[in-house]
């Protein structure tokens, strides 16, 4: 009877859907594996992603200055505009140095001469972390490593900054 027919088709229908769902899950699991396998090939190098920070090289002095710029960042679920900051100056050899302001202790923002008590040093307001002008952590203060340094290049007289890289342990 029609009722019987209907039951079969319902069972079939469920079966189909379940197979469908299973298929989806399998694909969902396989896709990342596949991706991982070929990822090194697909991966575009993150180098070359240096951003123009709108600072002319001529305006860089031997006094560290704060530079802010924006980049698009994809962070898991969100794509967002994030502000990056660097402390930039020229050393005695006219070499440009760009330091990350992120304290190597627990990540607060350090400021150049942020404390009157410690001229000529970067100072972290959180737990009194200090760094010499060349980014080296002052022994005896909480940070255990020197400030990260940005990848950089100069093009058409403008400063471009990329990722902050760790310096060797001090």
């Amino acid at each position: 009877m029609s009722e019987k027919k209907q039951q079969v088709s319902r069972r079939q229908f469920l079966n189909y859907t379940l197979t469908g769902v299973g298929g989806f899950m399998a694909a969902g699991m396989l896709a990342p594996m596949l991706r991982m396998a070929v990822d090194p090939v697909l991966k575009t190098s993150s180098h070359g992603d240096l951003a123009n920070v709108s600072l002319s090289v001529d305006d860089i002095t031997d006094e560290p200055q704060r530079v802010d710029w924006k980049i698009d960042q994809v962070d898991g679920w969100y794509e967002s505009e994030v502000t990056k900051t660097a402390w930039v100056y020229k050393d005695e050899n006219d070499e440009i140095l760009a330091f990350s302001p992120i304290c190597k202790h627990l990540g607060c923002f350090v400021s150049w001469e942020g404390s009157e008590d410690f001229p000529d040093e970067f100072y972290c307001p959180c737990h009194g972390g200090r760094y010499y002008k060349d980014g080296t952590n002052v022994p005896g203060t909480p940070p255990l490593a020197p400030l990260d340094q940005f990848e950089q290049k100069v093009e058409d007289g403008m400063l471009f900054l990329g990722e902050a890289k760790e310096q060797g342990e001090a």
Partner: protein, 152 residues
Amino acid sequence: MKWKKSDLNQYKQAKEYIDTILIPLVPFHLSNDNTMEKSAFQSEVLSVFTNEIENELSGRIMLTPNYSYLKSADQEMEVERLNTWVYDLQKQPFNHVFFVTFDAAWKKNEQAMQGTLVWLPGLHSGDLHNKEMHALIRDQVEQIGELIRSYW
């Protein structure tokens, strides 16, 4: 630090350094057509604002999720409820509790609050994405940061 897994993992290992709590107080309502946009806007600004502060002082500050409440709710009751948050987080070694809000209503009950109220006046409307707004927020962030540091 924020209330998220990775930060809390770090928090547990460095508790003695993170002694300050920041709780954003955010009024919510949909009942009044005339003010709901303003309320939502202020809530957006506040979250940009508290995130910035957290960003600059993340090694010593824990930013909690927003404390949300109905704009029309009884204030005294809200103070009580808010204080239960404070009692909970006092199970950890926090020495300073700051509440940040645009809602002036808290001012009346400031005495009863178990922490320091930072009331930010103004900002009724505007564009979150334009330059002036950024400058304004930066400026306030700097000032509040200074205020918080003066308690350390």
